[in-house]
């Protein structure tokens, strides 16, 4: 009896063991190694020795603070843009699309069955200086020859917004879709104006959706480097590009791992603070959505 009960109590642990082990060995342990590497000194030829060299953090942060700040700036702008673009769509689909709700949602998601890299490269082509859009406008003399969108911060923010928009539309839609229409009716019955009903009823009820959208998009947007690499220029480099280049270009592992750790720490502290406010379970559901 007791051994049976013990076995029953062990079941959940045994079930999560293989997957849990995988995550510990290939997620937690690598983080330890990354931090360890960030405190080492040396070069690729002679190897790196552990010297607890904390100065790497201060030197790399001060060398790349512009890129770090720019990443959060782009993340912020892009996330705000996403909210502004996504909200009306989510609203319209949730309240007005009627029987065709799933059809519209599907149309919004269709492009994302194409490889992320291919889509981003596609923008590089569409927005080329003499490409189908700008080239035509230049041929009509509507734009000066040297005008360009690519290789600017605008192009990077545009690409980021484009690539992560659905992650913002969906949670807002889900939140709006849950709003009980009777509440809105009640507001109208109490002679609320359209604007007032929206501000006092619909908007507050959709805030969790916006919040969830921010959680899902802000981290990948601010740590992205693919968009900045493909669409960006000399002054739109993000911290992800610096990390990528230090790991896979100059092989300055200590700087690369120090910056990775800083980036992750800042982002995760922010997200976890939010998750704590919401409770881990709910945050999990938000993330899974």
């Amino acid at each position: 009896m007791t051994s049976g009960r013990l076995r029953a109590r062990l079941i959940p642990y045994l079930t999560i063991l293989p997957g849990g082990l995988w995550l510990v060995v290939f997620f937690v342990v690598p983080m330890v190694f990354m931090v360890s590497l960030s405190l080492q000194q040396g070069d690729i030829v002679h190897g790196f020795q552990q010297t607890w060299h904390w100065q790497t953090y201060t030197t790399s942060i001060s060398a790349y603070k512009d890129q770090l700040l720019r990443s959060f700036k782009y993340g912020l702008i892009s996330t705000l843009l996403q909210i502004v673009i996504a909200y009306p769509i989510a609203y319209w689909i949730a309240f007005r699309a009627g029987a065709r709700k799933s059809f519209y949602l599907f149309l919004l998601l269709v492009p994302f069955f194409v490889s992320f890299v291919l889509r981003t490269i596609s923008w590089n082509f569409i927005l080329a200086d003499n490409g189908i859009v700008l080239g035509t406008l230049k041929d009509w003399h509507l734009l000066p020859q040297s005008f360009h969108i690519l290789a600017t911060g605008t192009a990077v923010v545009g690409g980021l917004t484009y690539n992560y928009l659905p992650f913002m539309i969906l949670p807002i839609y889900v939140a709006l879709e849950r709003v009980d229409p009777r509440l809105i009716e009640a507001a109208y019955d109490l002679y609320a104006t359209k604007v007032r009903a929206f501000r006092k009823v619909i908007l507050p009820l959709s805030i969790p959706g916006i919040f969830a959208g921010v959680v899902i998009t802000f981290v990948p947007v601010s740590s992205d480097y693919v968009n900045a690499h493909i669409l960006g220029g000399p002054t739109s480099t993000m911290i992800g590009n610096v990390i990528q280049n230090s790991y896979l270009g100059t092989q300055d592992y200590p700087t690369a791992s120090a910056l990775s750790f800083v980036l992750m720490a800042i982002l995760l502290i922010g997200i976890f603070a939010y998750a704590r406010a919401l409770g881990t379970e709910e945050a999990l559901e938000v993330a899974a959505r």
Binding site: V32, L37, Y64, H148, A151
Partner: protein, 415 residues
């Protein structure tokens, strides 16, 4: 492979798709070890092979026999896309060659192969072409290159220009022989740039705001900054580097630079994204030949950089003997001529010049004009006066020096 102390089943597990039990054990071992790692570093791997003893050549080549296939890693725009030379080689020797244009810049390529070579695993290539830069030195110091067996390349001994037999970065060609040399200068598109550029000042011209391309390679860009200031890169000091970095930073902040490119500058120049750019001499000619463009190249009045791209055999190559045969083959003057005719880079085989001239005499029309131009082009067969105008890469004496250099120039290209 046999001489290296590597568990073959582990190698198979890593290179094939099957995950064996033993691998699982090893990988699980990684995790267990995780607890005790805080003090453990990334191992130093320098083998100190600065002077390669002849017995090491014998040791490496002992028992090696020619395979039937060669994998060749090279840069884009470095061979006629039809690969006529390789076809001839295969017809002569029966060895098939897979040629891949997988190298876009040296640092990225090095970072890609380094983890594999460091673990003594094959990188999937028997022959690769690397520039005489920092990564080349690192490969030498880390023992990643197979020592070349000079008895297997009589064509090189007989036909290579003396200048290329004893270059500073690899004295006596212990690990490498040149594939081609080239010049870093300025490429421009006359469709947009109406007054022909003359030198570095054109890279500061505000009329080309957002339309100027620079290279992301810190050595290339550093050299340009120094030459713009009249400093010879090969004898430069850290103070010179700082001055060059200031010049480059000023250039970037003025808004003229569109982007820092690796070899993709050539497509940007072709499609009009940039109008004027740092460029490699032969790329411009090949692009004109293959894409029908009319791009131009010039050596800046302040000077250009002369570099050499070298054929090297990774120490873990599956078919090093075949790779040696291919190296030898490219030093046949007829083959060297055929390659130079297409790629327009400096050939290390002077005997190619009369062959190209006689090819030109036999040809007619446009081909004739083009070949005649190649035969007397200073970009393919530079004279001593031409060489005098060119500068070389700075050789870094110590890794610390290189780190210092990187710290100065890296923030410019990643800002």
């Amino acid at each position: 492979m046999s001489e290296h102390n590597v568990d073959p089943s582990f190698l198979r597990g890593l290179t094939s798709r099957r995950l064996g039990r033993r691998d699982v054990v090893k990988l699980a071992g990684l995790g267990v070890a995780g607890a005790a790692v805080a003090a453990c570093g990334v191992k130093g791997k320098a083998t100190g092979t600065a002077s390669q003893a002849p017995d090491q050549v014998a040791k490496f080549w002992a028992g090696k026999t020619a395979g039937t296939h060669i994998d060749f890693a090279n840069w884009p725009l470095y061979m006629d896309p039809e690969h006529p030379e390789l076809k001839k080689f295969s017809a002569q020797t029966g060895i098939s060659v897979t040629y891949k244009e997988v190298i876009n810049d040296d640092p990225t390529w090095f970072a890609k192969i380094q983890p594999l070579l460091s673990a003594h695993q094959p990188i999937g290539y028997d022959l690769m072409v690397m520039t005489n830069g920092v990564e080349f030195q690192e490969c030498v110091e880390l023992g990643y290159y197979a020592p070349l067996d000079h008895s297997k390349m009589p064509n090189f001994t007989a036909n290579a220009e003396d200048k290329y037999k004893n270059e500073a970065f690899d004295k006596n060609n212990v690990y490498s022989v040149p594939w081609a040399s080239g010049i870093t200068g300025i490429g421009w598109n006359p469709k947009y740039v109406k007054t022909p550029p003359t030198g570095m000042n054109d890279l500061l011209n505000l009329a080309y705001r957002g339309k100027i391309g620079m290279m992301s390679d810190t050595q290339e860009i550093g050299n340009f900054g120094m030459m713009a200031l009249g400093i010879a890169p090969e004898s430069s000091t850290p103070a010179d580097w700082q001055k060059a970095a200031d010049w480059l930073t000023k250039q970037r902040n003025s808004g003229v630079v569109r982007k820092y490119y690796d070899q993709d500058y050539i497509s940007a120049l072709t499609n009009g994204d940039i109008w004027i750019t740092m460029a490699w001499s032969g790329d411009i000619f090949q692009q004109n030949a293959s894409a029908g463009t009319n791009l131009q190249f010039l050596i800046p009045s302040e000077g250009g950089t002369l570099w050499t791209d070298n054929m090297t055999i990774p120490i873990t190559a599956a078919n090093p003997v075949g790779a040696m045969q291919l190296i030898n083959f490219f030093y046949d003057p007829a083959i060297a001529a055929s390659l130079a005719e297409y790629i327009n880079y400096i050939t290390p085989v002077p005997a190619a010049q009369p062959i190209i001239a006689s090819d030109a005499a036999a040809a007619s029309g446009d081909d004739k004009a083009a070949l005649e131009q190649v035969a007397k082009s200073p970009l393919v067969f530079p004279s001593q006066t031409d060489y005098a105008k060119l500068h070389y890469y700075r050789d870094f004496k110590t890794p610390a020096e290189h780190t210092q250099y990187q710290a100065i120039f890296n923030p410019i290209v990643t800002s």
